[in-house]
């Protein structure tokens, strides 16, 4: 299977658990935000993402959207600004 290069940026509790702001990953070309999160959840003990949102390249997107080469992915816990 073909591999694609992506970047994941971490914020808030995910940054604390991953102990990094971002990382470059090579993943299978069929990877979605959902399957990526499942993999990272196992790696870093991330919380369940039921209430999370996800963005690809600075746009909110769906969890089953296939990732492309060079995509930047951000997983977002419920926001708490203000």
């Amino acid at each position: 299977m073909e591999l694609i290069n992506i970047k994941v940026i971490y914020f808030a509790v995910l940054r604390d658990l991953a102990k990094k702001k971002e990382e470059l990953l090579s993943v299978d070309s069929g990877t979605t935000p959902q399957s990526l999160y499942d993999m990272l959840q196992e790696k870093y003990s991330f919380p369940d993402q039921n209430t999370y949102k996800v963005a690809i390249n600075d746009n909110f997107t769906e969890w089953n959207e296939p990732l492309d080469q060079q995509d930047i992915i951000v997983f977002m816990p419920p926001v708490t600004g203000g």
Binding site: F11, A12, A55, V79, T80
Partner: protein, 139 residues
Amino acid sequence: MNHFIISEDEINIVEFNKQFKNPNAGAISSFQGIVRNNNLGKDVLRLEYQSYDRLAEKEGGNIINEALETFDIKSAYCTHRTGTLEIGDIAVVVIVLAGHRDDSFKACRYIIDEVKLRVPIWKKEIYQNGDSGWLKGAG
């Protein structure tokens, strides 16, 4: 000029106010979110805000535009701090200029409510007792 701004710099409410003059505006409603010394029964020492800046400014801009379309207002602005904030610091400020007060109040309320729901910013509380934690949010 983007009317929703994420900034690490201290919000100077005076300078912020000065920028917005409009001889047609009879009503200015504003809201300031301030760092409190307590939350949910715990003594708060300071806060740390993180923001996904690019999406935050985009989504914040959407909210401002929605307010301009929905209410009879002249203009609206919002700035949100990131980084470390001390007790009494302004975390977020909204200002709305309108011809009349009803729409200025409604638009100001709309903007702060939507910002708190939709804009990707996260708050960590550092407590007096040394503990700290990211707030869980409404989700």
